[in-house]
Symmetry: C2
Subunit: 300 residues, 2 copies
């Protein structure tokens, strides 16, 4: 499959998600195209200060180079020096209402080329949900949607990718998961190019169905300063994960990526308070005890 | 010199700074003692929501172990496996008034011991200022105080440590310094134990004289939401530096340090806005153009 067809899928996915997000919010995403001096570029779409989304970013990027640096191929040393390209869509939505969870989704493709040899490729991606208030109904729906999307590609995929997600989006310095998880996969090529790409598309295509019903259920719940304070405090954890543990963010920032596009994932506001513990029995405490622990959300 | 005398200096420094900060604020710092399971512990002192300080932390820690891990001695491989101890005081003050700069100070000692060999030790530390609005008078005073404190230890010290500070507190992903600098040194033993410790004390002892006059000059300046918004936005840079680039923070979080003590450096609140640029000719733009660039603040 040529690059143009893959690019066309990713650009269409970005456009469909933006259209749905704009319809939900009523506002318009700005459109920022950028070039990468060393090759390639991207399209960053962002909405700030919307009625629904306090900060929402959906980025497309397609970057490439003549020689893969050794640091980028640590687990595949045989690829160092090959021509390479990486392409994908990544989004984070930070809604204003603390009852609406923050969501992250990413789908991406990597390909390395050397004349006379077969291309090496892999896919990665997933989606995960970070609520400030826990609703079992929402967690079950989100996970079930992921499971349904992956079912055609093998019974093992959802359980493996669910566990991978729990392991990846984990703040080791807090001994705490970032949210209620979802699915995550990386370095994936085991189904061959066509089916691995089809599986990646299935994840991307499932995003709106996973998130929009949750958004619709929670967006009109009333909230006050107490809920906003808790949301701002918990958003600090989002910042900590992304800047301390997320490999893509760290690699991007430390290797000269486009900072404003990488940091579209940051919340609009984050607060820190020393050793803060929510009151026992509160909905805030319930988030920690009942939701921020690896759990099965899909019945076997 | 025995450990007790060094510890006594660090604890006294912490107490003097707390006393001065409480006198300036009118509030009280909480007192939190903690033990490190693998050896040692610390005293974290913190004030949140004060009249003057929105969040201010002063930590003392004294940690030790039987065998220095190789990861902690990468630049001194001969020390791996030795018994070691590290001790120091570290502070960050985040004032509420955007005209009062954020300040950071740290003094620390490291010692490695092996029977039958001379102890290996070094000192590190420094202080640096992060204003939200630039005042040349404040920058000159802060740097001059650092230069005066270091003068007895050799003419080269201030220029070297000033440059080291500019290089260290730099956000490479923004191509931007964290603030207007100050002094920074690490791995320092070239004057011998006694004089190296004396120099480190001179830096610690100079802190209040460097910061309090600035605080007194700026604390009653009136400000509004516009200045608070700019402060919150710039505090995002503080978060980015500390979580992405600061070696002590990263090493601490990734190696099982006490998270709440390490993250006392975080601001109470930080905001992110996409590709934000202050208006040309504004005081906010002047901070970027006239202060956030390596400059000489002390006349030769």
């Amino acid at each position: 499959m040529d690059t143009a067809a893959i690019k066309s899928y990713f650009l269409d996915l970005q456009a469909r998600i933006i259209a749905a997000a704009e319809a939900a919010d009523g506002g318009s995403f700005r459109h920022d195209e950028w070039q990468r001096p060393a090759g390639g570029g991207g399209i960053s779409r962002l909405l700030e200060g919307g009625a629904l989304f306090e900060r929402a970013g959906v980025g497309f990027s397609h970057v490439m180079g003549d020689k893969l640096p050794p640091s980028a191929s640590a687990h595949r040393p045989e690829l160092a020096g090959r021509a390479w390209e990486a392409m994908g869509v990544s989004l984070v939505f930070h809604p204003r209402n603390p009852y609406v969870p923050t969501v992250h989704m990413n789908v991406r493709m990597f390909r390395a080329h050397q004349d006379g040899e077969a291309d090496v490729f892999w896919f990665g991606g997933g989606m995960d949900l970070t609520p400030y208030y826990g609703f079992a109904e929402d967690a079950r729906h989100f996970h079930q949607t992921c499971a349904d999307a992956l079912a055609p590609f093998g019974d093992d995929k959802y359980p493996r990718f669910k566990q991978w997600c729990d392991a990846y989006f984990f703040l080791k310095h807090r001994n705490e998961p970032r949210g209620i998880g979802g699915v995550f996969f990386d370095d994936f090529s085991e189904l061959g190019f066509e089916q691995s790409f089809a599986m990646t598309r299935a994840v991307g295509d499932a995003f709106l169905g996973a998130y929009l019903p949750i958004l619709a259920r929670r967006r009109d719940m009333s909230f006050g300063q107490n809920e906003r304070d808790w949301q701002a405090y918990r958003r600090g954890r989002y910042v900590e994960f992304n800047l301390v543990w997320d490999r893509g963010t760290l690699f991007g920032l430390q290797s000269g990526g486009r900072t404003e596009s990488i940091l579209m994932s940051m919340p609009p506001q984050a607060n820190w308070r020393y050793d803060y513990q929510p009151q026992a029995g509160s909905p805030e405490a319930a988030l920690l005890s009942d939701f921020l622990a690896a759990r099965d959300w899909v019945s076997a």
